[in-house]
């Protein structure tokens, strides 16, 4: 019990340090999947990260994600190196975060199984730049488990990520980012 209380305090502290999540009924996942994909006739680029952290407050709708840039894994070694060193400058900006809100959380019945469409707005911060984004997603309630999924597009130029002209043809102007979480409940 003492361990559990300490865990909840530490988890809250972690997100207070990152930003702010209010209220009760928080759910968390510390192994969220975040991936991005780019398709051009020349090359497909895909990277996966399976260690992102998220907290969802099912009462207030507050939603947060944090992801380590260096934990994105690519198929090709050179792509991974360029992503970290040239584009994301991951030593200077090791994390990306999202802090926002599921604006229609009241329409999700956490006690009734089903797929619920959700709307999300918030601030995405990466590469030292913060930008407001809005997207849609799904919350899946199944047997007491809560899963979340969302896809959205990110333009590298919006985050001051310069793509050299020599590789511009190989990278889509907007990358598709997919986020998936399987939340576990904790109470405080």
């Amino acid at each position: 019990m003492q361990n559990k209380l300490f865990f909840v305090s530490a988890l809250s502290l972690f997100f207070l340090m990152q930003g702010n999540v209010n209220g009760q009924s928080k759910y968390y996942d510390k192994n969220c999947d975040v991936s991005f994909y780019s398709h051009t006739p020349i090359e497909d680029i895909e990277a996966k990260n399976t260690s992102a952290v998220s907290v969802l407050d099912v009462e207030s709708g507050a939603l947060e994600f944090a992801v380590l840039i260096k934990a994105f894994e690519f198929q090709k070694s050179l792509m991974q190196e360029h992503f970290n060193e040239n584009y994301m400058e991951s030593e200077k900006f090791p994390k990306a975060t999202f802090k926002g809100q599921v604006t229609n959380i009241s329409s999700v019945k956490m006690t009734t199984d089903g797929n619920y469409p959700i709307e999300i707005t918030g601030t995405l911060t990466m590469h030292g730049v913060s930008k407001e984004i809005s997207t849609t997603g799904t919350i899946k309630v199944s047997g007491g488990n809560i899963g979340g999924r969302s896809e959205f597009l990110v333009k590298p130029e919006d985050f001051n990520i310069a793509i050299p002209s020599v590789v511009k043809e190989k990278i889509e102007k907007e990358l598709k980012v997919t986020v998936e979480a399987n939340y576990s409940a904790y109470t405080n």
Partner: protein
Amino acid sequence: MKRLMILTTLLLGISLAVLAVYFINQPVSSLNGTKPDFALSSAALYGKFVQNEDSANKQYLGKIVELSGKVKDYGADENGQMSLILEGDELFGVNCKLNSSGKDVTPKIQKGDQVKVKGVCSGKLMDVILVNCSVEQG
């Protein structure tokens, strides 16, 4: 003589192009046989990140780290990727995301086992995260 020079230049050009394609398409390699930049206990690495994250990032981010520590937990995610959580403090630790060799190794591992794991340090969220990990010693 001229024909020989053209042929040599052509062969050289083709060889360079093949080498370039080979280099560009190199997969992310396993760290097997790679000398680690640092070797320390999982609790010590975790402690350094807790104590001063900025300084630990400067020292360990992107570096190959060999950790020794007790297995707190292990499991597979929805995609089948195995990970080991090595001891840090009471709540959190070092989450080692195993490479494809993980499936062969993890059935032999149990909670409380002392292991050596090598991987690339990616920073800290709740746990410190290591990716592309291989178990050096179970």
